[in-house]
Amino acid sequence: MKSLILIIITGALINNVVLNQFLGICSFLGVSKQMKASASLGGAVIFVITIASAVASLLYDYVLAPLGMDFMKTIVFILVIAALVQIVEMFLKKTSPGVYKALGIYLPLITTNCAVLGVALTNVQDGYNFIESVFSGFGTAVGFTLAIVLLASIRSRIREEDIPAPLRGAPIVLISAALMSIAFMGFSGLSF
């Protein structure tokens, strides 16, 4: 139990997927303009990464590893995750239109997000079993949500500030993201 909590904290804070491993930067910068949109995307990412790590872990443990197809894991994971997200999207559209409305438009965006693939590959690299993979995926996705919601709130503050003209727009966002990344480096000192 202790190790599972540790995996979540590691994924969310110490090895934050955006601010420490620099994965999923595109949607991190792109969808952080509005707090509401970024929170919805965060919810969709938690949903997708948790499911994707579970499926990827099963696939690796029971198909790829026994057959010695370790080298194909990247391609297989891309294939399966992309299809999985599509299926989940269709499923949601039919069964719960409310959830689909909230997350729906972000699901296709996440299909090819490198954070999703990155988590699946890191899980395999770290030798996690099924349960550990799911928890690691969940923790990482929570870390992504945390980062994007934090950036969205910083950007809403930035909008009201008098930023020097050359730094307006994208530059100040990148600087903010860099400062956040430095702040998150502080977590690497955590030890248990």
Partner: protein, 264 residues
């Protein structure tokens, strides 16, 4: 050699399983959507840019099919796409005509008097501070707040007056909202004869502040054969649906305020 065969087979099996899964879920969880919605979605460009103000092409298609958005709501697709969507939605080509923004002020530096030279303002703060840049209290302030919000870079401030470059304008209407004096309106793209003034003062007062302003003399209304131009509040205005673009009002106008728009 063996590993290559195994790999190929396994990937093929995974591909087939995944593909079959997609087809199965697609059928099983098929949601009936408005036929027109999917037809409209087919016509839209599909790059999900969000320039229409909706979350993406799917959202816009749903809004058009539900009648909440106009058939020419996609600024990227322009007239050809609007035409196609108009056919699907059963609206005539007339209704799908695009609109462009037009600045209803002609008060450039040589026809009106500048009260001062302000630097580093925008239009809204000038209005809040109660500044009249020119003598005219209705006219363009020339700080270019409209140009700043224009996503197409279609508005230029020339000689103290904002003007729209029609070729670039997509009729999104952001400038209409940005102008604190409400000078900008969206006009049908084919219309060339437009009253280029917003001053509602009486003739003599207009004359004092601007030599190009509408003085409300009613000469234009008498010229018009199709009952399209009227003067209310000392200001001529054209009903575009009646206007035949004959240009007789523009010929007769003593201050030449009815003009083909600049930058055409």
């Amino acid at each position: 050699m063996q590993i290559i065969i195994i790999t190929t087979l396994v990937i093929a099996v995974i591909g087939i399983v995944v593909g079959a899964g997609l087809v199965f879920t697609g059928k099983k969880f098929h949601v009936d959507v408005d036929e027109r919605e999917s037809a409209v979605r087919e016509c839209l460009p599909g790059n999900n840019c969000g320039a229409c103000g909706y979350a993406g092409c799917d959202a816009l298609a749903a809004a058009i099919a539900a009648g909440n958005a106009s058939v020419n709501a996609c600024p990227v697709g322009g007239a050809p796409v609007a035409q196609k969507i108009g056919e699907i939605m059963g609206q005539s080509a007339e209704a799908v005509e695009g609109k462009v923004a037009f600045v209803r002020c002609k008060g450039s530096c040589d026809v009106t008097h500048n009260q001062g030279n302000y630097v580093g303002m925008d239009c809204r703060s000038a209005v809040l501070a109660g500044l009249n840049v020119t003598d005219c209290t209705y006219g363009c302030l020339g700080f270019g707040s409209c140009a700043a919000v224009c996503p197409q870079d279609a508005i230029r401030v020339v000689d103290g007056v904002a003007m729209v470059v029609r070729k670039k304008c997509v009729g999104c209407g952001l400038c209409v909202k940005a102008c604190p004096r409400g000078l900008i309106e969206l006009v049908p793209a084919s219309k060339r004869v437009i009253v280029q003034c917003s001053n509602k003062d009486r003739g003599p007062q207009v004359k004092k502040v601007c030599s190009a302003g509408c003085i409300g003399c009613m000469l234009c209304t008498r010229q018009c054969e199709s009952d399209a131009i009227h003067v209310s509040n000392n200001l001529a205005s054209i009903q575009y649906e009646n206007c035949t673009q004959c240009g007789k009002c523009a010929e007769k106008c003593p201050v030449k305020v009815i003009t083909p728009p600049p930058g055409v």
